[in-house]
C-alpha cells in the first residue's frame, strides 16, 4: 500500500504529524515525558521492525544493543567528560552496530525458534556483564547519572534542548531522520530481499541471494537503531538506567511492535503510544497500581489471537473490506482469462524476447559455450543406508533439451538437488561450463547460471507476482550480495526490461500486481518457472513443471516450455510422457537411482528395459504411448 503512493508522501505526513504533536497533545493532558519516551521506543522499534517485520527474524535480545549504545554514549558524556552529545550518540550507535555484527554472527547460525532462544541467552549475558565485570564503567546497579542534554549552535544563538517539550524537537528530529532512512532501506533492493527472506528463505537463497549476509545486515541495522535509541534514553532521563539491559526491555519492544503492527515501520511507535498511554491511564486514572501490566498482558494476548497484524494491520484489513463491499463487481479484466488476444500478445512478446535474448545476454553466456554444458560423473547419494542415486554419469550439451523420466522413487529429484548443489553428493563430480561446482552452495551455482524450478512451488507468498520476479532478477543483476540500501529498486538498470519480458514469457503480465496467495494453481506453477527464468540461467532444470495441471493447462505449459527453450539448455523431469517425448530431443531414464538407458524419444519408447521398468515384467511389444496414456 505504501509503495504505490507518491514518493515523499509518507515522509511529509510524518513530518507534519511530528510538528502537530506538541501543538495538540498538551491540550489533551498528555505529559511531555510520555510523548518523548514514545519517540525513543518508536525509534528503537524502527530497526527492530526491519529485522522482525520485514526480514522475519524475531529477536528477544534487542536490549543488549539498546543498552550497549546507551552506556557507551552515557559513559563518554559522564565519566569520560566528552563534551559533544551528538557525537557521543553517534559513537554509541556505531558501537551497538559493531556489537550487533558480532552477536549476529553467532545468533544467525540458527534460524526460527533457535534464533529467538539464542538472542534471549545473549541478552542475558549482557545484563550480567553490565552488572558485574563492567560495573566500574557502567556504574553497575546504579547506572550512570548526569547524562547531559544536547544543544544546537546556530551562529547567532544556541538552542538548548533540556527536558519535556523543550527536548521534544530534538527527539522528533532523530525519529524523523530514522524513519526517512528506514523508508529508503525498505524500498531499496535490499529491502525487497529482506521481505523475500521472510517469505521463503530457501528460495531466496536458491535464486542467488546470499541470505546469511543479508540477515546479518538486517541485524546490524536493527542494532544501530537500538544503539541510538539507547543513547537517547540516557539523554531523556538524564540518567542511563541499568534496566535498559533487562529482558523486560526486549519483551516490551516485541509487544509494542506486535500491537502496533509489524512490517509497517510505524507500528512500534503506535504500539509504544498504546502501551505507555494505557499504562499511565491504568495506573494514574484507574488507580490499578501494579495490576496495569496484568491488564496489558491480557490485551496483548487477545490482540495476538484475534488481530494478527496489529492495529495498523487491522485498519488495513478493514479498509480493504470496506473497499470491496463498496465495489462488489471486481474488475474482471484482472481475472486469469487466457483470452485469444491476451495469449497472442504474450506470444508476440515471448517471441521477441526469445530473439532478443542472445543480443542482450548478461553474464550468463549461453550460446558461446559449445560442447557439454553439464557433466556429472559417478554421482552417488546415500541417505543412511538408502541409496538414492548410484554412480550416475550424465552429460548434457549446450542448447539441448533433455528429458528425464523414471518411476516414483527412481531418484530423479535427488539427482536434480545434487546438480543444483542443494544437497552435496556422497561421491562424484559435477562440472558446469567447464568448472567443477561440486560442493558449491546453491546460491553460487545460481549465480553461475544454473538454477531450477521446484517440484513443489517455492514462491514468496505474500508478495505480488511482479515482486516475486523482481527478487529473482535482482540476484542476477546485482550479484549475490550488495548493500545498496539507500537506492531504489526502480533505478537498477535493466530490471524493468527483464521483469516484463519474464512476465510476458510465462504469460502473467496481467496478473503482475496480484499477490501470489490469490493465484490459481496453474498460474503459481508458471510463476515458479518464471522465478527460475528471471535469473537468465544458461542451464535451467525443471522438476515436474506439468505436475497437477489440467489437460488444458498442460497444453499451454508445453507451448510455454517450447518458447522458453529457444536459446537455452534445459533438463525437464516429468511423468507426462506424451509431453516430454514431444519436447525433448533426448531422454534419460532413471530407475532405482541408476541410469537405465538414454536415447531419443523414439528409442526410449521402443526400449524393452523401459517397458519393463514401467510395466513390470511384461514381455513383448507394447505401445508405450497407449499403455501410459
Amino acid at each position: 500500500m505504501m509503495r504505490t503512493q507518491r514518493p515523499g508522501r509518507v515522509e511529509l505526513l510524518t513530518a507534519i504529524g511530528l510538528v502537530l504533536v506538541p501543538l495538540i497533545l498538551p491540550y489533551l493532558g498528555s505529559a511531555p515525558n510520555t510523548v518523548n519516551r514514545i519517540l525513543v521506543w518508536g525509534l528503537f522499534g524502527i530497526g527492530f521492525d526491519i529485522l522482525f517485520g520485514y526480514t522475519g527474524l524475531l529477536s528477544f535480545g534487542q536490549s543488549a544493543l539498546y543498552g550497549t549504545g546507551g552506556f557507551v554514549a552515557a559513559y563518554l558524556l559522564t565519566r569520560a567528560g566528552f563534551p559533544y552529545v551528538w557525537l557521543a550518540l553517534i559513537i554509541g550507535m556505531v558501537a551497538a552496530a559493531v556489537v550487533g555484527y558480532l552477536v549476529g554472527l553467532i545468533a544467525l547460525r540458527r534460524t526460527g525458534i533457535y534464533f529467538a532462544m539464542i538472542t534471549v541467552a545473549i541478552a542475558e549475558v549482557f545484563y550480567f556483564v553490565e552488572f558485574n565485570p563492567l560495573s566500574e564503567w557502567t556504574g553497575g546497579e546504579n547506572g550512570l547519572p548526569g547524562v547531559p542534554t544536547p544543544s544546537l549552535y546556530l551562529g547567532f544563538t544556541t538552542i538548548h534542548f533540556t527536558s519535556g517539550w523543550s527536548l521534544y524537537p530534538f527527539l522528533a528530529a532523530c525519529y524523523f531522520i530514522g524513519i526517512v532512512v528506514a523508508l529508503r532501506i525498505v524500498r531499496s533492493p535490499v529491502g525487497a530481499i529482506f521481505r523475500a527472506i521472510r517469505e521463503n528463505p530457501l528460495r531466496a537463497a536458491a535464486v542467488g541471494h546470499n541470505i546469511h549476509a543479508y540477515k546479518l545486515a538486517a541485524f546490524v541495522i536493527a542494532a544501530a537503531y537500538a544503539g541510538l535509541a539507547g543513547g537517547l534514553l540516557g539523554v531523556l532521563q538524564a540518567f542511563m538506567p541499568p534496566e535498559a539491559f533487562t529482558f523486560d526491555t526486549s519483551g516490551q519492544l516485541v509487544i509494542q511492535t506486535a500491537i502496533g503492527g509489524r512490517g509497517t515501520l510505524f507500528g512500534p511507535l503506535l504500539g509504544a503510544a498504546v502501551w505507555l498511554f494505557l499504562q499511565d491511564f491504568l495506573q494514574a486514572t484507574l488507580g490499578l497500581g501494579a495490576a496495569w501490566k496484568l491488564v496489558l498482558g491480557l490485551v496483548f494476548v487477545l490482540l495476538v489471537v484475534f488481530l494478527r497484524h496489529g492495529i495498523i494491520g487491522g485498519f488495513v484489513d478493514l479498509y480493504r473490506f470496506v473497499k470491496r463491499r463498496k465495489a462488489p463487481v471486481e474488475p474482471r479484466e484482472a481475472a486469469p482469462s487466457p483470452g485469444v488476444a491476451d495469449e497472442q500478445a504474450a506470444h508476440a512478446v515471448a517471441a521477441k524476447t526469445a530473439h532478443a535474448q542472445p543480443a542482450r545476454r548478461l553474464h550468463h553466456a549461453a550460446s558461446d559455450y559449445t560442447g557439454p554444458i553439464l557433466q556429472a560423473t559417478g554421482l552417488t547419494k546415500h541417505y543412511g543406508g538408502v541409496i538414492a542415486n548410484a554412480d550416475i554419469d550424465f552429460t548434457v550439451n549446450a542448447g539441448e533439451l533433455r528429458g528425464i523420466i523414471g518411476p516414483n522413487g527412481a531418484g530423479k529429484s535427488t539427482f536434480f538437488k545434487m546438480l543444483t548443489c542443494e544437497v552435496p553428493p556422497t561421491s562424484g563430480k559435477i562440472v558446469f561450463e567447464g568448472r567443477d561446482i561440486t560442493g558449491m552452495s546453491v546460491t553460487d551455482v545460481c549465480q553461475l547460471g544454473l538454477t531450477k524450478s521446484y517440484q513443489v512451488n517455492q514462491l514468496f507468498n505474500r508478495l505480488t507476482v511482479r515482486e516475486n520476479v523482481v527478487i529473482a532478477a535482482l540476484a542476477e543483476l546485482r550479484g549475490k550480495f550488495k548493500l545498496d540500501m539507500l537506492g531504489s529498486v526502480a533505478s537498477i538498470p535493466g530490471l524493468d526490461e527483464q521483469v516484463s519480458s519474464t512476465l510476458a514469457l510465462v504469460n502473467l503480465t496481467r496478473r503482475r500486481d496480484t499477490p501470489v496467495s490469490e493465484l490459481a494453481y496453474g498460474e503459481k506453477r508458471r510463476l515458479e518457472v518464471g522465478l527460475a527464468l528471471a535469473s537468465s540461467p544458461a542451464l535451467l532444470l525443471l522438476d515436474e513443471p506439468l505436475a497437477g495441471m489440467s489437460p488444458v493447462e498442460r497444453g499451454e505449459t508445453v507451448k510455454l516450455l517450447k518458447s522458453i527453450a529457444q536459446g537455452r539448455t534445459m533438463i525437464i523431469i516429468d511423468h507426462d510422457m506424451d509431453a516430454l517425448f514431444e519436447l525433448a530431443e533426448r531422454v534419460t531414464v532413471l530407475q532405482e537411482g541408476r541410469v537405465l538407458v538414454e536415447g531419443t524419444p523414439d528409442e526410449i519408447k521402443r526400449n524393452a528395459k523401459v517397458q519393463e521398468a514401467y510395466l513390470g515384467g511384461v514381455h513383448g511389444v507394447i505401445d508405450v504411448d497407449e499403455a501410459l496414456a
Binding site: R109, I113, F131, P133
Partner: protein
Amino acid sequence: MISWSNFVSQLFNGLALGALLALISSGLTIIYGTLGVLNLAHGAMFMLGGYAGYVAYEASGSFIVAVIAGTLFLGIVGVLMERVVIRHFYSRPHEDQLLVTFGLAIVYVEGVRFIFSSLSKTVPPPPLFTGITSLGFMVYPTYRLAVVGIVAVALLALFLVLYRTRLGMIVRAGIEDSVMVDSLGINVDRVFMVVFGIGAMAAGFAGIVNAPVVSLTPDVGEAILVQTFVVVVIGGVGSFTGAVLGGLIAGEIISITSMFNPGYAYVMLFAAMTLVLLVRPQGLLGTRGRE
C-alpha cells in the same frame, strides 16, 4: 580460599540445579518436538507450580500434598492452555506462537503478582529432609541432596513414559514426523493435548520441588527460562537425553563458575553455548534438520 569441600559442595549444587534444569528442559523440548511450539511461558509455569504448591502447603501443612497439588494444577493449566489458546496456533507462523506464549507468560507472572504481591514466599522442606547431612568430609543441606534424588526419580518416570509406553512411542514418533503419525490413524490432536499437559507438569513439579531451595517470587521463572533455552540449544531440540545432558552441563557450569565469581556464570554458560553452536550447531544430541 577455595577448599576441596567447598568445591565438592558446589559440584553438588550444580548437580541439583542441573537435575532441575534437565526436568524443566525436557518438558520444554518434548512440547516443542511434538507440537512444534516453543513455549515462552514455560518459565512462568515453573513459577506457577511453586505458587500452587505454596497455597496447598499453607492449607494442608504437608509437603507431599504441595508437590502433588502443584503438579496436578499445572497439568490442568497446561491442558486448558493447549485447548483454549495454543491449539489455534499450530497452523500459524512460529513468530505468532512465540508472541502468544510470551503474552501468556506475562499474564501468569502479573496474575500471581496481583494475588500474592512481589514479596517472596517460602515453603519449608519436608521434616524428613530438614537440616544438614554429614558426608564424612563435608556437611551439606539434606534437602538439596534429596532434590537430586527426587528429580532423578521424576526424570526416570518421564523416561519410562516416553520410552516404555504406547503414548511415549507415539510422542517420539510425533517428534520425528507428526503428519505421518496423524495419517497412521492416531488421534494426534489428543496426543498434543496430553503432551502439553505432561510438559507443563514437569515444569510445575520442578517449581514446587525448587521452592524450599530458592524462595518464591513472581519473577523466579524468568531466569530459569533463559537457562532452559541454553540447555536446549546445547542438548539439541526434541531430544530428551539431550535435555538431561545439557541440563547437567549447564548446572555444573553455573555452580562452578559461581564459586569463583557469580557475575561470570552467565558468561561461561554463554561461552559453552557458543562453542556448541560453532562445533555442532544441531546440539550435542540433536538431529540435523530438526527445526
